[in-house]
């Protein structure tokens, strides 16, 4: 039964992708109008403009463009970006590792810090550790990520000179190692250059901290409230009455049952993060997907925008699918 449900969810990816593509296609064109002006020199004649328009594939009527795009999409061709001149698929895969690397490190930080904080708050409910954690999570959720990033830059780069400035994945003028996985933390080691590895770690530190801070906050909050609810339940009272130690009650009984909503939350967060944290990437000049999307919007780069949106929505659906599968391991009720 469970397998069939997962299969159905997987197939649901296709209508979602189709709907999202259609939405983006028409919205981009209706709202942004004709991007020919952006790509034509100001002194261009009408004939040249028409030629550029045709080159950009914008000369046909909208429905024709739309069906042309869909036909290409069925052949897994996402089209060509106006700005980079490369195929959108290769653009996306070029930038994906940067986003994934930052996202994975940030999300791991968020989980590793967030869940223990939530547990600490829950077992000390209505005492000072709880108030501290609640204050911190509130500010973590209420502060704009880009502001946190700027403040961290101000502290660690400008004032303390401990970490490098926001110039991307490596300091300016340092050549990238040969690309194997695209993850700099791995590629530098594969190339046998620990010094380069250390440089990339230092560049990654501030954006990952920022991401970790704003990810840990909601995770800690949900962990706390789920733990509190679990600890008020009858089976916990039974477990305590049976003489189990506090640690066993907290971690084996309460936390395990409290993890369900936390897993759902993490799935949702992951879906957002791996689609590229637009503002974070733009502050730290991080060459990831978020920056690519922002640039595509600013330059009316339709194919790039559509490609990105398809990727992001698929990711979103897959993240929730993954959560469903994880549930089978955490929640025995779903295995029946």
């Amino acid at each position: 039964m469970r397998a069939r449900m997962i299969l159905r969810r997987l197939l649901w990816v296709f209508p979602v992708a189709f709907g999202v593509v259609t939405l983006t296609f028409f919205m981009a064109r209706v709202f942004n109008g004709d991007p020919t002006e952006l790509y034509a020199p100001p002194e261009a004649t009408d004939a040249l403009r028409a030629q550029i328009r045709a080159q950009l594939g914008l000369a046909d009527p909208l429905p024709v463009q739309y069906f042309h795009y869909l036909a290409e999409l069925l052949r897994f061709n996402l089209g060509t970006s106006f700005t980079t001149g490369q195929s959108v698929a290769s653009d996306l895969s070029d930038r994906l590792p940067a986003t994934l690397e930052l996202g994975l490190v940030g999300l791991t930080l968020g989980i590793v810090v967030g869940i223990p904080l939530g547990v600490i708050a829950a077992v000390n409910r209505e005492r000072w550790p709880d108030f501290l954690v609640r204050g911190a999570t509130l500010s973590g959720m209420a502060l704009p990520q880009f502001w946190v990033g700027l403040v961290l830059i101000g502290i660690f780069f400008v004032n303390l000179h401990l970490l490098p400035g926001p110039v991307g994945r490596l300091p300016i003028g340092v050549a990238l190692p040969p690309r194997v996985t695209g993850f700099l933390l791995i590629d530098t080691l594969l190339a046998g250059e620990p010094a380069l590895w250390w440089l990339s770690v230092r560049q990654l530190a501030l954006p990952a901290l920022t991401l970790g801070f704003s990810t840990a906050a909601p995770i800690a909050r949900v962990t706390r409230s789920a733990m509190v609810e679990a600890m008020q339940s009858d089976y916990i009272r039974t477990a305590i009455a049976m003489g189990h130690g506090r640690r066993v009650v907290w971690f084996r009984y309460s936390l395990r049952n409290a993890l369900l909503p936390v897993v759902t939350l993490i799935g949702g967060i992951a879906g957002h993060i791996f689609a590229g944290a637009v503002l974070l990437e733009s502050i730290f000049a991080w060459p990831g997907l978020g920056q690519y999307a922002l640039q595509a919007i600013e330059r009316s780069d339709f194919a790039a925008l559509q490609g990105f949106v398809i990727y992001a929505s698929l990711l979103y659906v897959l993240a929730f699918l993954l959560v469903d599968i994880l549930y089978m391991f955490i929640d025995p009720r779903t295995r029946a």
Binding site: T24, L294, Y316, V317
Partner: protein, 305 residues
Amino acid sequence: MSPRDAVGEISPELGAIRQVRRRPKLSWSMRIGGAVLIFYVAVALISLVWTPYDPLTPGIGDGYDAPSAAFLLGTDRLGSDMLSRLMVGARYNLGITLTAVTIALCIGTTIGVIAGYHGGAIDTVVLRAVEIFQAFPGLLFAMLVVQAVGPGIVMLVVQAVGPGIVNVILVLSFVGIPDYLRLARGEIHSRRSWQYAEAARMVGNPPWRVAFRHLLPNSIGPLLAFTSINAAFVALITASLGFLGLGLGPNTPEWGNMIARGQDGVMTGQWWVSFFPGLAILGLTGAFYLLGDAISDLTDPRRRR
């Protein structure tokens, strides 16, 4: 005399119970959140008649004046007074957030109630559409629409407050609609065959009346709690759009926009230009979160202790 007062007449003890039930103790989160929000509204109103300096005029100070007695929060790169700009900014951030959230609440709830009560094909279509829309990255959608100061939908309003703001408000409310819709739909759907709904139908109420007068008021708690949480989210996106410089004019004293203007200052040590608008945002979104928590504590029996 209302039935409750009548109870008090008959038995003083029951009257006392009534009083306890009707006035639940205000939680700390409710008090703090409410106080902060009232403070922001007050600042926004005061800024209509008085600010220390003119917020839009550059060159009042020298540019990057540190906080001092003359300029309590310093001046920005162009020499505009930060405190004055922050005060006027309350108008923008609070106004945009509240308007967008209200629109989303009204439209989303209405469609959600209809879908949930009616069920059947309407329900399925609406739910599927919502699911597709939710797979679409929200901030991206907002950026896409706001970036193009597109054709104004309601020209009169547009001319009154400027096309940028109207776009921002419309987009932000549109992004929120699916969430309200799902919530209202779920609430109504789960209750439409309860006995009191049956009773309301049996005495001859038309469907819309059962749905909106009998079922909806029972869901007002979760809806309001979510509205408050959503307001925090909308306030953050408002600031994000402002930070990217989308939608509003370049000199608009919107807090996100002010943070962006101070970005260079952060690199050279003039931290205050970006720092204070961030604190202002923290207060606003934090207040909404606290209020949302307090409301759901009040209305959700599982969370009531």
